[in-house]
């Protein structure tokens, strides 16, 4: 590739032709500020609409200032990123953006974690000239089961639109209208609820301001905790323990399982359980279904649909219900771990401690915003009483802990409660892309072959490439595995399934890039994919530490089947742990 030489702030640099000034400057250690540009390098995700104009720089010989995020380097270019002209222009641009932005920073849910606020601080903006004359555009607020849209705070960076359309191929959001009224909205500016939104929350995780945030369920949880008539049970998803620490200043990838457990107990939860237990249970059910369908398929049974698709991810479930309803018999019927946990907690466990399910409140801590919607689905309730009452995100939990004056960093590690807090390493790795199918392979291999698995780590299933494939040898039977994370990648595999070209026996799909560790409810990564990689490494480290690493070896899972469920796939298991899917294509209607 051709290399070219240029000068940025009097420093010479050689770059490949096609490199933008912004990236070249980064290589020189010059951190040009920007509001709209964002790159998740390891996932190949980039947003550069050159919309915010904060990143402008002076290029010698060029009349106007250049947006560095989208201007390519030329040989001999002389760039100044902090001349008087640049700094004044940048300040003016920022003042214009702020002139049409609410000034309620004190009470904004993004306060302290807002890129716009940080930028204002960084650029030293101390007043907004002419503000008293400036009109501000206002927009109707929209609250869906998972996501709040407050478009008064939108700065049109269009990161959400890029995530929704290019990465996720959901197409729920688009830039609409023009000029002052321009904003990002679903079709016909309807509420998100009536769009094709999957609630994956990737828009929320990249929004630089408070325009897109999660629905806060902490007040409801607090009320339940203070209600003496309620037994409050909490479950924590695997991806939470490797990210929660970030909210308290710990390095990305810090594992805070023990401290999180202690903090939850300090918050007043009666039982601190683990979604990983339900993940192990998921493997028992989903793994059984996989082997059943696979063996029937191999025997030539045409009713056995292959490939089987995982169904743990609620964003993914929403996606195929909207876009591939014709394939709704392809995914596993196993409920997600969150919902399996709720169903078992409010039946088996409620019986065990002798209370009515109506007196139990199940709270889940999730890296996910779609889980909020999932737990509200009608099919996951009994006589109007939901299996999981409230789902709060990692970010909400962190805020809750801070509100409760709990110094999490100095808490002593504590263990989960038994019996629904016991899990294996297989349950832990659900949090990273490829983890569910690896966990399934660990169990399915031993059940199918009747032999002990020598090599527990299926490293060929790990990684960050958007679509991955591997063939696992089940003692002579080659099982073709496909993995996709990010819904755009899932769509590619689904299109193959629809056209009958898919060679896979089993496919794992996670809606969010990186899997749950990159979920919409996680601490904000602000465009740094190293953070997501560090969380993945932590997930696998946590797995290695576990004495048991295969779901079917979990003694409490074995006990649960002995005492209550019978065997995997039994009628009772089907009743409690399996679900069905809906054709939501017709739901995309114009509400007026």
């Amino acid at each position: 590739m051709e290399t070219i030489k240029l000068t940025i702030d009097n420093k010479e640099i050689d770059v490949h032709r096609g490199t933008t000034i912004y990236k070249a400057a980064r290589e020189l250690g010059i951190d040009i500020p920007t509001l709209c540009y964002m790159e998740l390098h390891d996932m190949g995700i980039e947003n550069n609409p050159a919309g915010c104009r904060i990143c402008v720089a002076e290029v010698e010989g060029r009349r106007n200032l250049a947006p560095t995020c989208s201007t390519k380097c030329e040989p001999g270019m002389k760039v100044k990123t902090h001349s008087t002209r640049v700094l004044n222009a940048r300040r003016t641009v920022m003042e214009f953006i702020l002139s049409d932005h609410p000034k309620d920073c004190l009470v904004c849910s993004k306060s302290g974690n807002c890129e716009l606020q940080d930028m204002s601080h960084r650029l030293g903006i101390r007043e907004i000239p002419g503000q008293e004359f400036a009109a501000t555009s206002t927009y109707r607020k929209d609250t869906s089961p998972s996501i709040i849209r407050d478009l008064d705070k939108c700065i049109m960076c269009r990161r959400c639109e890029m995530m929704c359309n290019e990465v996720q191929t959901v197409g729920a959001l688009s830039a609409v209208n023009r000029g002052f009224m321009a904003t990002v909205a679903p079709a016909f500016e309807q509420n998100l609820e009536y769009s094709t939104c999957t609630y994956c929350g990737q828009c929320v995780s990249v929004c630089p301001t408070g325009a897109l945030t999660e629905v806060n369920h902490v007040p409801q949880v607090l009320r339940a905790l203070n209600d003496p008539t309620k037994t409050v049970v909490v479950q924590t998803a695997p991806a939470v323990r490797v990210a929660l620490g970030e909210e308290f200043g710990l390095a990305p990838g810090s594992i805070v399982t023990g401290k999180m457990t202690a903090a939850l107990r300090a918050l007043g939860f009666d039982y601190v359980f683990d979604t990983d237990f339900a993940a192990d249970l998921t493997i028992m059910e989903e793994g059984t279904e996989l082997l059943d369908r696979l063996t029937r398929h191999l025997k030539g049974d045409k009713t056995a649909r292959i490939p089987i698709l995982t169904s743990c991810c609620p964003g993914w479930v929403n996606f195929f219900e909207h876009y591939f309803p014709d394939l709704k018999d392809v995914p596993s019927t196993a409920k997600s771990p969150q919902q399996m946990f709720g169903a078992i907690a409010k039946s088996y466990f409620a019986d065990k401690i002798g209370i009515n399910r109506k007196d139990m409140v199940v709270v889940s801590i999730m890296p996910c915003l779609a889980k909020k919607y999932e737990c509200q689905r009608d099919e996951f309730s009994v006589d109007g009483n939901p299996d999981v009452d409230y789902s709060i995100s990692t970010r909400e939990l962190a805020n809750f802990i801070k509100q409760a004056n709990i110094d999490i960093k100095n808490l002593h590690d504590e263990e989960f409660d038994a019996p629904l807090g016991e899990s294996t390493g297989a349950g832990v790795i659900f949090g990273a892309t490829g983890g569910v199918i690896e966990a399934a392979c660990r169990t399915a291999y031993e059940v199918y072959t009747g032999k002990k698995l020598e090599r527990i780590d299926f490293t060929e299933l790990r990684g960050m490439e958007g679509v991955r494939s591997a063939t696992i040898d089940f003692n002579g039977l080659p099982v073709n595995i496909g993995i996709a994370h990010g819904l755009g990648n899932a769509r590619k595999l689904l299109d193959e399934v629809r056209s009958g070209k898919s060679q896979f026996h089993a496919i794992e799909v996670m809606a969010c890039p990186g899997g749950c560790i990159g979920g919409g409810g996680q601490p904000l990564h602000h465009g740094n994919s190293e953070i997501i990689k560090a969380r993945a490494a932590a997930i696998y480290a946590e797995d290695r530490k576990k004495p048991l690493r295969k779901s079917h070896e979990n003694p409490f899972i074995i006990k649960l089947y002995d005492e209550f469920l019978g065997k995997p796939g039994s009628e009772k298991a089907h009743h409690l742990l399996h679900t069905h899917y809906f054709d939501k294509k017709k739901k995309i209607i114009v509400k007026k």
Partner: protein, 161 residues
Amino acid sequence: MSSIKIELRNEDVDFIKATCSKFNSDPQELINVLHSCQEHFGYLPAEVQEVVSGHLNVPVAKVYGVVTFYSFFTMTPKGKHPISICMGTACYVRGAEKVLEEFRKELKIQVGGTTSDNKFSLSSLRCVGACGLAPVVLVGDKTYGRVAPDDIKGILKEYEK
């Protein structure tokens, strides 16, 4: 946002399909397809946009984004007699604002609106190039010059048949 819910007839859907096919169902041709559809239907109701979205494989939010970006596209049906008032500089200084106000009062609709009997719709535009006749009003293809607020009732009467 349109407040009219319409039921597309089969032949309407067929027309949209045929239009998309004419442009090879190429997503890049979205604007051309919308042009043809607006010419045919007179406007672009949500239902038309949804069918276009399906056939071009473009999210309906994107279609709506394009429709709302270009002022040429409209989601409200135009009346049988579309009225346009020139608000260019010359017309404006000679009282176009008052003329517009009179139309609004008489028709009881806002700019961009259509009367409930679908007879008239009201819009403003910038300079029709007849500044000597300012202020200028267009009703359909007919041009009225030197219009005063007192003339409005008379103009509307011409179309009340």
